[in-house]
């Protein structure tokens, strides 16, 4: 058994934060989409994967990571623009059935899209290096740590704050928050909520795409990366409470740590740990950390 030192723990703490940020970015989109549109977006994971692949393609076509960042955001959001109207078909259903059908529809979409990725880029993964600018390590006193990972944490924080400001300070953000509370009332007030729906959807998946690009140098680019992050991100929203922005961010970071810290003592536990944690949370706080918005 390897001796556990402080630097081990600090490294894993930071690794957990990196994963937590990625999960938070994905979960905030999932959470908003579920809270506002009533869609459990199974396809969120595949948009994340598409983000990584689009980024890879940008670099193959001669661009670099920094160009890829906004390109990925735009391209994935545009894809979301195509997909979101398809869900409108189910809005007329009663709430119970709606959740069911949107979930199945999104699941089938994710299967088809993931297979399309395999068809377009092949089933094997692609190597993806961190941008040259960040490809070094920093000496943080106790230990050295890759600069790129710190960048991911920073990027996550920036995006989180940006979305938070958007929700809190802008008109559209206000409408979204109102819609999360009471959809009908917003419509009664004469606001065209379907535009807000679309915006929320493309924002959510766009961020997930950027998260995918951010993750690419860390985990590589491979077709199954979407589904691999999908279920943990569902755990994040179940624990954090769907429709809660704060819940998804905090829960994302917590789950990121829960998945990473146990590696110090028993690597095989890390995959299972988040589900055990979820089970415990279900018993202790069935309503989610920040409460769920009852529909």
């Amino acid at each position: 058994m390897v001796e556990v030192t402080l630097s081990h723990i600090l490294v894993q703490l930071l690794n957990g934060l990196v994963l937590g940020m990625l999960l938070a970015l994905i979960a905030m989109g999932l959470s908003l989409i579920f809270g506002l549109l009533d869609i459990a977006n199974f396809a969120h994971g595949v948009f994340y994967a598409l983000g990584a692949y689009v980024g890879y393609q940008v670099i193959v076509l001669g661009g670099n990571y920094w160009i890829a960042l906004p390109v990925v955001g735009i391209v994935v959001a545009a894809l979301g623009l195509v997909v979101e109207p398809l869900n409108r078909r189910f809005y007329g259903e009663d709430p119970a059935k709606r959740g069911l059908f949107t979930l199945i529809f999104a699941f089938a979409l994710s299967l088809a899209l993931e297979e399309s990725i395999r068809w377009t880029w092949g089933a094997l993964g692609k190597k993806f290096s961190p941008p040259a600018l960040l490809d070094f390590v920093i000496d943080l006193g106790f230990f050295i740590y890759p600069a790129y990972r710190l960048f991911v944490i920073l990027l996550g924080a920036i995006l989180t704050i940006a979305v938070w400001l958007f929700l809190k300070k802008t008109q559209v953000g206000l409408i979204i928050r109102a819609g999360l509370q009471n959809r009908e009332m917003v419509q009664v007030l004469g606001i065209d909520i379907s535009k807000v729906y679309t915006l929320t959807y493309i924002l959510g998946v766009g961020i997930a795409g950027v998260a995918g690009l951010a993750a690419a140098p860390l985990v590589g680019v491979y077709p199954a990366m979407g589904v691999e992050i999908q279920v943990p991100s569902f755990v994040v929203v179940v624990v954090g409470g769907m429709g809660s922005f704060l819940g998804s961010v905090v829960s994302g970071i917590i789950i990121g740590e829960v998945a990473t810290l146990p590696v110090i003592w028993e690597p095989r536990v890390s995959q299972v740990a988040i589900y055990v944690f979820m089970a415990i949370m279900l018993i202790a706080k069935p309503g989610g950390l920040f409460g769920e918005l009852e529909r």
Binding site: F90, L100, F107, A108, A112, R268
Partner: protein, 342 residues
Amino acid sequence: MMSENSGTKPSSIGQALSKHPVLILLIVLIIVPWIFQIWPIWTDILLFGLFAMAFNILLGQTGILSFGHATFFGLGGYITAMFLMEPYAIPRVPRWMGWIGIIVGVLAATAGAIMVGALGLRRRGTYFALITLAFSQMFYFLFFTNFMIPTVTGPNFTGGDDGIIGVPTPPILTWVYWRTPITWYYFVLLVFISAIYVLRSISTSPAGEVLKAIRDNEQRVKLLGYNTDKFKLISFIISGLFSGLAGSLYTINIRFAHAAFFSYLLSGEVVIMTLFGGMGTFFGPFIGAIVYILLKDLVSMFTMHWMIIVGAIVMVMTWLYRGKGLLEIIQEAVVPKLRRIR
């Protein structure tokens, strides 16, 4: 659900069909495989059909979507496989009593259903579906990473990423080498029909009607005084039990067990099968299983990217029919015409 009485003449074919569906199904399944002798595929159809019909007790009848039903299929299959492999059989039983392995597998699946149901049903609808998915992943990793009790039976408890290879088929009393594709099919058919008979009895019982009521309007059922939480849990357990039976037989079928039994893909496949055949009828999912298995085999002969086509079909079907499947579509088209045949 099936055609109702249409007058004093009891000669309508639809009526005869609806009185004894299980018997009719049995006769069909005894005879039809002789026409297209693809015995292993028919066996697959029976097992996944059972899985799908058990799943639909929860979805179509009670109105609860579980996205992790592979958990119970996997528990049934994997635990049975572990029991049947010599080093694990606890306690050692005589060879001919190996069938206890199936009972053990089914019990494991039932225990799993109790646990997942008790924890998950605390949350509503979509949450519940995701929680079931999460649990299936938990079991997947538990069995895949061999992370269980490493010292009790040796380091390789669950077979890890290799799975368990070479699961034996227990003898029928003294007849050890009884298994051939044909005899195995009829054996599975026997178990299948018995299970379906029981499942259908439950489904058409008064308790089954309560489940349908819960699906349609849970609030009202509660106001009528029923403990809907209890009914939902029981529905979940029954569904899990029979899913476990399907898995249990499946591992003997393919002589192999693997963590993939718990995969989200399998969970998704059973949802797709149910959707193809239709959630609204008891036998719909069986038709769906037939269609899905044949479609998958057919399309994969042409391309390895068959999933795109299947995914697209599911999307279209959900879009167009929203839960109505082939069986209902056929029924609505054919039954009124049958009534005119006096």
